[in-house]
Amino acid sequence: MADEVILLSYWPSMFGMRAMIALEEKNIKFDYREQDLFNKSQILIETNPVHKKIPVLIHNGKPICESLIVVEYIDETWPGENQLLPSDPYQRAQAKFWADYIDKKVNGPTRLIWAGKGEEIEAGKKEFIEVLKTLETELGDKTYFGGETFGFVDIAFIGFYSWFDAYEKLASFSIEAECPKVIAWAKRCLKRESVAKSLPDSDKVTKYIPELKKRLGIE
């Protein structure tokens, strides 16, 4: 019996990208359904009534929500190919810690950069650079966050790379100048088909931001 896998997502969302990358890593055939977050569909409201957010993975009719939870679900459900989380409990805990760090610390300052005004943008930039430096220290000279294998923490963070150009333009700084290892890591990730397929062009994101702001009612 073939699996039915549907992904409700939104092309600029770095959280949606996580789910896509995980599915692609596992070579899972899925039905991608683009969502309009300003006019939420029946299926989105029904499958995620609590948050009404993407991504939502619907596997044989059962919905799974929250991007990192979706990625872990994918790893556990299709264990054969490309393991995304380490098997060792301590390594797993480390991977989850860093993915959680990314979830808690990146969105705040980056949102200030693209949605903020004046002083807020500067404050967002400063905080974002600090977070990047912490991540860069954690990455060190490893190929990926988990070592030699692409995995959970890489998936948690790489989607933000598609917004880097926009952050740089809006806050007038160079991420490569501040954190060259992070950029080198991102470029390595982009060589993977799963990532290349799931991340939109930086240009497309940058051009979209003014429209997004208008729809959100920000200036």
Binding site: V50, H59, K62, I64, C65, E66, I69, V70, E72, Y73, E76, T77, P89, Y90, R92, A93, K96, F97, D100, Y101, T134
Partner: protein
């Protein structure tokens, strides 16, 4: 490896600290509890969790594990043969448990604290209404997850029971301070029954903070400076 010494760095009033303690108790793993002084952070804490500088931290031998829910999963995986499983057995049920635990941490606890932080009756009423709405979601989640058994995890206390159960002290303290019941037989019959069973469990009793003591503590930390 599983036999190396276990320590938990934490504080009596923190619901997050309660989580690994309940998990270790359920697995019958002895551990040393290192209590932090309120208002300051020990050298050991800063060394063990340099990134977030927060409690709880589990030290297994010399290896630190941080973030309460992550620690509970680590405990379950490391001592997988001791006692019943804390996480459900299927990937889907695990995803549901993780979803609700995340909801509790990100939304529910914040809503609860808003009751204590509320200034004036209007704000307090709104905050209470918010928590009651969220409690109705959790009541339904309990019915779905427990499938007729005593706990979210079924027959035995598990990950989601621990996640929500560790907030019961603060829930009761908030009820005491606001003079309003949030979880009771009338509003949330299933959760009310579950709460009693959770609190009576021998793994929970020794680490559940006293409601009156917590209420005093809450008054202190939410005290508004004189105008």
């Amino acid at each position: 490896m599983a036999s190396e010494q276990v320590k938990v760095i934490g504080a009596w009033a923190s619901p997050f600290v309660m989580r690994p303690r309940v998990a270790l108790n359920l697995k019958s793993i002895p551990y040393e509890f290192l209590e932090e002084t309120f208002g300051s952070k020990s050298e050991l804490l800063l060394k063990s969790n340099p990134v977030q500088k927060k409690i709880p931290v589990l030290l297994h031998g010399d290896k630190p594990v941080c973030e309460s829910s992550i620690i509970v999963e680590y405990i379950d995986e490391t001592w997988s043969t001791s006692g019943p499983s804390l996480l459900p057995s299927t990937p889907y049920d695990r995803a549901i448990a993780r979803f609700w635990a995340s909801y509790l941490d990100e939304k529910w606890f914040r809503s609860l604290r808003s009751i204590l932080k509320a200034e004036g009756e209007e704000e307090k009423k709104a905050a209470i209404a918010q928590v009651e709405e969220e409690n109705s979601f959790i009541e339904k989640a309990f019915i779905d997850c427990s499938k007729g058994k005593a706990f979210f995890n079924g027959e035995h206390i598990g990950y989601l029971d621990i996640a929500f159960g560790s907030f019961l002290g603060w829930l009761r303290a908030t009820e005491l301070l606001s003079g309003h019941k949030l979880v009771d037989e009338a509003k949330t019959p299933s959760l009310s029954k579950w709460a009693e069973q959770f609190c009576n469990d021998p793994a929970v009793k020794p680490v559940m903070p006293d409601t009156a003591k917590l209420a005093e503590f809450a008054k202190k930390i939410f005290a508004k400076p004189p105008a």
